[in-house]
């Protein structure tokens, strides 16, 4: 029994990991693009991005999942997306917005002098960004990023609102059949996952400790 539950939960955990990984892979670069948009000198673009970020950060992720999944069908009569895909799309959009604000804070915290030093040394804008600014930004945003990423692990449980078989949904189904403990057992999975992430972020922070900004 115990093993059966463990295996079933593991299957659900696989879906959790899939949502987690796909979200990170897509939202990290998308967030950077949004960050550049929100810092753009082109006012209309800046305004659009700011409003978008406001809407996404200002509404519950659960609602966003519902809109992405049901919206196209209800509004336009299109078909439904695959449930997991719909969840991933909602997560990517949501997390990209949060990430973009973290990036923006990091980029804006770099002193003007760093850019100017690059300029007088004849560097191009992209050289200044990639060779001078980027690593300093990375160092600064590791702590807030680790927070956000750990939150993402647990947010994946929202996927069950559209019946995606992630770990919490699997465990919840047991409770309906009268078996309570698998629900609490899921904490072990989450804790191990977050533990690994915490170690990983600690490692990155340590790696970047060789310089100070």
């Amino acid at each position: 029994m115990f093993w059966q539950v463990t295996l079933n939960l593991l299957e659900g955990f696989g879906v959790t990991c899939l949502i987690f990984a796909a979200t990170l892979v897509c939202a990290l670069p998308l967030g950077l693009i949004l960050a550049f948009g929100s810092m753009s000198k082109f006012k209309p673009l800046k305004a659009v991005v700011k409003v978008f970020v406001w809407i996404i950060r200002g509404t519950p992720l659960m609602l966003q999942i519902l809109v992405i999944y049901y919206g196209p069908a209800l509004l336009f009569g299109w078909g439904f997306l695959d449930r997991v895909v719909a969840v991933i799309v909602a997560f990517v959009i949501n997390y990209a917005c949060y990430f973009s604000e973290i990036y923006r804070g990091g980029i804006e915290s770099i002193s003007k002098g760093q850019y100017e030093a690059g300029q007088v040394l004849g560097m191009t804008k992209s050289q200044i960004f990639f060779k001078v600014v980027l690593l300093q930004v990375v160092k600064r945003i590791v702590p807030p990023m680790s927070n956000e990423v750990i939150t993402l692990v647990k947010d994946t449980s929202l996927a069950r609102i559209i019946v995606v078989e992630e770990i919490l949904k699997v465990a919840y189904d047991y409770t309906i059949r009268g078996l309570i403990w698998p629900l609490f057992y899921t904490a072990v999975y989450y804790l191990i996952f977050v533990g690994v992430l915490t170690l990983l972020f600690g490692f990155i922070e340590k790696k970047l400790n060789y310089f100070r900004v």
Binding site: S111, G113, Q114, E116, A117, Q119, V120, L121, G122, M123, T124, Q127, K131, V132, L135, Q136, K139, Y210, F211, R212, V213
Partner: protein, 295 residues
């Protein structure tokens, strides 16, 4: 015509006109000291020379070539990047790159420029290869590869030697692998000087190079700057160190309220200033210095 000619530089920020028509010239190998009270436009002038700010009016000629002429539109501004390389700038706050060692700080800009030159060469070679008859391509390709690897090795060697020489020149060879945060302010500023020298600018500018330093650290930086004078580089130094300006400059400009109030040799400006404003400025800076010593 002088080596550097600046004519009628004007710059305004919003409603305040910071530079109200500055003109001066400088010969090759000369050192120009720019003095004046804070907010008078000294730093803005320096930033305009380095094109960190774009003057609203005026022209700049260097070695007979017009580098800048106001009102030429965006296209001209885009080309400014290369023109910046005529000028080096040492900042008040050093602005070293914190994630790189001393060595890499000095090397980085050289390496990036060398890489660009290398990529251009590679592209040229590719075009030559494409134009060659197919039968000869293989042989040509081999030759090209050899030449390119030689160029790269050459570039590398030159940059490395240059960087080592500069480290010796600013007396920091033993700190080559240190990171900026591990250095004192004076050492950081010396690295910044070496970094600016690495691209062999025609004119090296200093923006109050010792203002951010503890008094006991200013000496080492000023000594390095003085040391550069002997090697016929042209320099413009914005400074509050009157003694330093007196001893190192060939030419002194006193700027007040965005205009050149007085200029001449150090003897003229410090010894027998003509303008009342200059006299008042020199008096008060002398008092501050003495006051500082009392404290």
């Amino acid at each position: 015509m002088a080596f550097l000619e600046v004519k009628n530089y004007r710059k305004r920020f919003g409603d305040t006109e910071v530079l109200k028509g500055i003109s001066f010239s400088l010969e090759k190998g000369e050192v120009l000291a720019v003095i004046g009270s804070s907010g008078g436009g000294k730093t803005t002038l320096l930033r305009c020379l380095n094109f960190l700010e774009i003057p609203d009016e005026g022209t700049l000629t260097l070695g007979g070539e017009v580098l800048f002429e106001a009102g030429q539109g965006k296209a001209a501004l885009a080309r400014l990047r290369k023109k910046r390389l005529h000028f080096g700038l040492v900042f008040q706050q050093f602005n070293l790159f914190p994630q790189y060692t001393v060595y890499k700080n000095i090397l980085l800009a050289q390496a990036l420029l060398a890489k660009e030159a290398f990529q251009r060469k590679k592209k040229d070679f590719a075009a030559v290869l494409k134009a060659a008859p197919p039968s000869e391509r293989k042989k040509l390709k081999g030759e090209q590869r050899k030449i390119l690897s030689e160029i790269r090795a050459n570039q590398k060697q030159r940059m490395e030697e240059r960087t080592e020489r500069l480290l010796v020149r600013v007396g920091l060879s033993e700190k080559r692998d240190a990171y900026p945060y591990q250095l004192s302010g004076g050492q950081q500023q010396r690295v910044a000087i070496a970094r600016a020298l690495a691209l062999s600018p025609d004119i090296l500018c200093f923006d109050e190079p010792t203002s951010a330093l503890d008094p006991e650290l200013t000496g080492e930086v000023l000594r390095v700057i003085k040391g550069l004078k002997s090697s016929d580089s042209t320099m413009i130094v914005v400074t509050h160190e009157m003694e330093f300006a007196k001893s190192v400059a060939d030419h002194v400009i006193f700027i007040a309220d965005g205009v050149i109030e007085e200029e001449g040799t150090p003897e003229e400006v410090f010894g027998s200033p003509r303008s009342e404003k200059t006299r008042a400025f020199l008096r008060s800076s002398e008092q501050n210095r003495l006051g500082g010593e009392d404290a």
